[in-house]
């Protein structure tokens, strides 16, 4: 079992990171009826861990008994019926799913599933009508239509069903949905916190941790706890008695991006642009999200760039990132950014070095 899963806190008690949030949540869940929740924060900050812990707090250990189901939903959309297949993870008390997987038909999923969940609401041991919890991941990937219908269904079925929404950026969730939820921001853990977690794991695993090693991992982790733990485990597998100057195993795609960046810096020509496109395709084939590619590429380029140009390059990166969100095919926009950068950089080179 991966350390990330092995040392995932199961309850809301004694957390190293976000203990304050957890305590508040615990109070909320135990003392009164729970409102809809919206967790948002950067990846690797512990949103999912908190959600699982809340579910456990609400329903006890039975919330851990989950089954994976590949369910087909038959949806009657006026003139035709749509068959949608979606993988869900559910226990008797909750159901978790990624509505974003349904693509542009996500709005039907949202409506239909909530309706169905509300229909067969469970009755708990005391004969009181209970409610089920629906965990929706990646709400920010939902289309605007889906978010609107989410809002309607939220209102209609709020008596029998609670929603826990989870997303990276709340800015992509509509105001209407946000205002109906209790928004909980989960910050990225600080490097000190990450170091603390890594030390905790090392202690549990019985590992000798040279001083400063955990700090180094934490620095490299981009403030993502998951990433820190994963790379910690990789280090462990690679070389055990840790040495202080041990190389961190880099992520292959990040290396690839920095390779692209140095390609771009070396030569600026349509031909090179074409080669870069090929490499970008390679990344896209491996499901690296285009936003992350663009961001990483910008960071890599900025490292090597004259301060004079940084402002302009950032501007264009932001411009094409926005375009990419609005557009359909990411490669068009990433490539436009690369071309723009090449053009700017070449002009700069000519101006400075003649």
């Amino acid at each position: 079992m991966l350390w990330v899963d092995k040392y995932r806190p199961k309850t809301l008690d004694n957390l190293i990171v976000h203990n304050d949030v957890a305590q508040n949540l615990k109070k909320l869940v135990t003392e009164q009826d729970c409102p809809h929740l919206l967790f948002y924060g950067p990846p690797g900050s512990g949103k999912k861990t908190l959600i699982m812990a809340i579910l456990r707090q609400m329903f006890g250990p039975s919330a851990d008994k989950v089954k994976v189901e590949n369910k087909t939903w038959k949806i009657d959309a006026g003139t035709r019926t749509i068959d949608l297949e979606l993988t869900t993870l559910s226990s008797t008390h909750h159901m978790e799913l990624n509505p974003g997987d349904a693509g542009f038909q996500d709005r039907y999923i949202v409506q239909e599933i909530i309706k169905e969940m509300a229909k067969n609401r469970p009755i708990d041991t005391k004969g009181k009508k209970g409610f089920r919890v629906l965990v929706l991941n990646e709400v920010d990937r939902l289309s605007r239509e889906a978010q609107h219908s989410l809002r309607r269904t939220m209102e209609k079925y709020s008596a029998s069903c609670r929603l826990i929404l989870c997303c990276n950026s709340s800015s992509k969730v509509t105001e209407a949905v946000r205002s109906r939820c209790l928004n909980i921001r989960i910050n990225a853990p600080t490097e000190e916190q990450i170091t603390k977690v890594l030390e905790f794991i090392a202690k549990k695993e019985g590992l000798q941790l040279p001083s400063g090693f955990a700090t180094r991992i934490a620095e490299k982790s981009n403030r993502s706890l998951r990433r820190a733990i994963l790379s910690f485990e990789t280090c462990r597998v690679q070389q055990y008695p840790f040495t202080n100057n041990q190389a961190m195993p880099p992520m292959d795609w990040e290396e690839y991006v920095s390779e692209i960046a140095s390609d771009i810096m070396k030569e600026q020509s349509p031909k090179r642009l074409f080669q870069v496109r090929g490499k970008l395709y390679e990344l896209l084939i491996n499901c690296i999200p285009p936003e992350i590619i663009l961001k990483r590429l910008l960071l890599e380029l900025l490292k090597k760039l004259d301060a004079e140009l940084k402002h302009e390059v950032c501007h264009w990166a932001a411009y094409y990132e926005h375009r990419m969100r609005l557009g359909q095919k990411a490669i068009f926009h990433i490539e436009a950014f690369v071309a723009k950068f090449m053009s700017i950089y070449k002009a700069f080179l000519i101006a400075t070095f003649g």
Binding site: N137, L230, P270, L273, A336, K340, K346
Partner: protein, 605 residues
């Protein structure tokens, strides 16, 4: 006999030399109808037939008959009508070439075909293959050539015309009267079978039985799907191997006028031709008729009809016909029918300028208004793309500075394009915006000069704009189709014009292959990978976010696996551990195969 045998035996002597010769097409069709033994209606038509030329009331009866067969047979109606109206028949039929000299087809081609037939007719029943394949686009005189040659050689022409399609009402009628439906392909097959077994059935009148016979198969049956295509091919190969009489197969070339759905048909036809050639058939390809010979034919017709059409107008008709002489003649007839005052006015203007400047020659064709004649040119997708990518421009700005409505800065001016407006080209190519953008994106960098990164950047930004427009289209699609349409064409226009404008230093023209967008393949494999990750993420991993898996877990697994000596086992153990952890849920099904797939996938990295 099939229910509607359409072998029309029309000996060359049949062709009267005077003008009152009935429209051949109409005639043959009437005849084929007459043979049709399907019910009472046929009796009526065959009864009415002898009176046709005398009685005007027959016309109504005829029309009634036609209407009963529905609108699907408009061609039939027209020809039937024309056969009655004496002098007012179609010029296409009236001026059908009767001798080799009258043919507008290139002399050499005609000669080639004639020589072939002569050789076959002289030394028939030999080992050589008796099959001739003539290809060419519509209206280049394939059938006319064969007819003329047949009459030149004094041969009897046996013609297989494709049977008229069965329309629904007729089909119902037929089934009611107990006639089974046979597909056109069936009919063709049985025809070929008969041909092989019995040869041509000798005509009833004995006198001509000595004259040689030419079999003409005018266009092949339409095949749909692989099975029927294979049947047709086998059938034709049989024919090629066993035919005793010289046979000409005419295949209309759709190669030029293809839209996406025609490509498959065109490919099938090409394959057919190849297989026939392999079977020993001789292939002769007819080119579109040159505008000069069309002009010659047209002016001859004009002389005979005594209509005052100027040479310029004939020239225009000839050039706009695109090498289709049948179309050119029909246009001429239509044009002579009712000379449009507005049109002749617009003619006179460019006519004057012709002699002065050669470069403006094409102007009247490119003018905004549509001529009452001329085929709408269609372009293939690749042709259109080639136009955009090659970006051919005039060498100098032809427009005088005074004519320009506004001045743009040096940086933004471009030389005039050597083609129609991009929108027009797009329209002619009948393509959707998305593939255009994809193709342009894939290929445009090949057409840029080595140093022009600024251009590349401009083009890339336009393509990005175009993609944005297309995406906006998708969102709006549900609400308004019209708006979506406008956005689509706007996006295509932005992509095409962006490529044309941005690429300000196009490479000198040389041969480039246009690639299929790699993007499509990338999208597919990306989707595939995504599905695989999705398929197993809830099973093996605790997180569900695909980007997290792709960016963090998978690279990590790779390290875990290859990093140390025991890496692989460790990784297996990790998965195993997860399995056992999850296995205590009874409903948990963990597909072993799925894990294998995931291993492979990671290996592929």
């Amino acid at each position: 006999m099939s229910k509607r045998s359409t072998i029309v035996v029309s000996s060359s002597e049949d062709e009267d030399k005077d003008g009152s010769f009935n429209s051949k097409r109409g005639y043959s069709k009437c005849k084929s109808r007459r043979k049709n033994p399907s019910g009472a209606k046929k009796a009526r038509i065959s009864g009415s037939r002898p009176r046709l030329c005398r009685d005007s009331s027959v016309f109504d009866e005829m029309r009634l008959f036609c209407e009963e067969f529905g609108e699907g047979l408009t061609g039939f109606k027209v020809s039937a009508g024309s056969s009655r109206c004496g002098g007012k028949e179609l010029w296409v039929d009236k001026y059908k070439p009767r001798s080799l000299e009258e043919l507008a087809v290139h002399k050499k081609k005609v000669e080639e075909v004639t020589v072939w037939f002569e050789k076959r007719l002289r030394t028939s029943r030999e080992e050589t293959c008796n099959l001739l394949v003539i290809t060419g686009q519509a209206g280049v005189g394939k059938s006319a050539t064969i007819h003329a040659i047949a009459s030149h050689l004094g041969a009897r022409l046996c013609e297989w015309n494709m049977p008229i399609p069965t329309i629904w009402q007729e089909h119902l009628h037929n089934t009611n009267s107990g006639i089974r439906y046979t597909s056109k392909l069936d009919e063709f097959e049985s025809f070929v079978e008969r041909m092989r077994k019995y040869g041509i059935i000798p005509p009833s009148f004995a006198g001509e039985s000595k004259s040689p016979v030419i079999l003409l198969i005018d266009d092949l049956p339409v095949t749909n799907g692989n099975a029927s295509y294979r049947r047709l091919r086998n059938c034709l190969q049989l024919l090629a191997q066993s035919t005793q009489i010289p046979t000409a197969i005419l295949i209309t070339d759709y190669g030029k006028a293809d839209s996406a759905d025609n490509i498959a048909t065109a490919r099938c036809l090409e394959e057919l031709q190849l297989s026939l050639e392999n079977a020993g058939a001789c292939k002769i390809a007819f080119n579109p008729i040159t505008s000069n010979s069309i002009k010659k034919t047209l002016s001859k017709i004009c002389r005979q009809e005594q209509c005052g059409v100027t040479a310029d107008q004939i020239d225009l008709i000839a050039r706009s016909s695109g090498g289709d002489i049948r179309h050119a003649i029909t246009s001429l007839q239509y044009f002579c029918l009712k000379p449009d005052p507005k049109l002749s006015l617009s003619f006179s203007e460019p006519a004057r300028t012709y002699s002065k400047e050669k470069s403006d020659e094409l102007n009247p064709l490119d003018d905004g208004f549509s001529l009452p004649f001329g085929r709408d040119e269609t372009l293939s997708l690749f042709h259109a793309l080639g136009k955009f990518l090659h970006n051919k421009r005039e060498s100098e700005n032809a427009i005088a500075p005074g004519q320009e409505a506004f001045l743009v800065s040096e940086r933004l001016t471009r030389l005039p394009l050597k083609m129609d407006a991009p929108e027009r080209v797009l329209c002619q190519a009948h393509v959707q915006a998305r593939p255009v953008a994809d193709f342009l994106h894939e290929n445009v960098l090949d057409f840029m000069s080595e140093e022009a990164i600024d251009d590349a950047s401009a083009v890339a930004s336009y393509l990005s704009d175009s993609d944005f427009l297309l995406a906006a289209h998708r969102g709006m699609f549900a609400t308004s189709y019209e708006a979506g349409n406008v956005l689509q064409s706007a996006a295509a226009s932005v992509a095409a014009r962006g490529v044309l404008f941005g690429n300000s230093h196009p490479l000198a023209s040389r041969w480039h292959a246009i690639r299929r967008p790699k993007l499509w393949q990338v999208e597919q494999s990306s989707l595939h990978n995504k599905c695989e990750i999705l398929g197993q993420r809830l099973v093996a991993l605790s997180t569900s976010n695909i980007s997290v898996i792709a960016t963090e877990y998978i690279p990590m697994f790779k390290w875990l696996r290859y990093g140390a000596s025991g890496g692989f086992e460790d990784y297996q153990a990790l998965i195993q551990g997860n399995e056992t952890e999850l296995d205590d849920n009874d409903s948990m099904i963990l597909d072993e195969k799925e894990n294998e797939i995931s291993d492979d996938e990671i290996e592929d990295w």
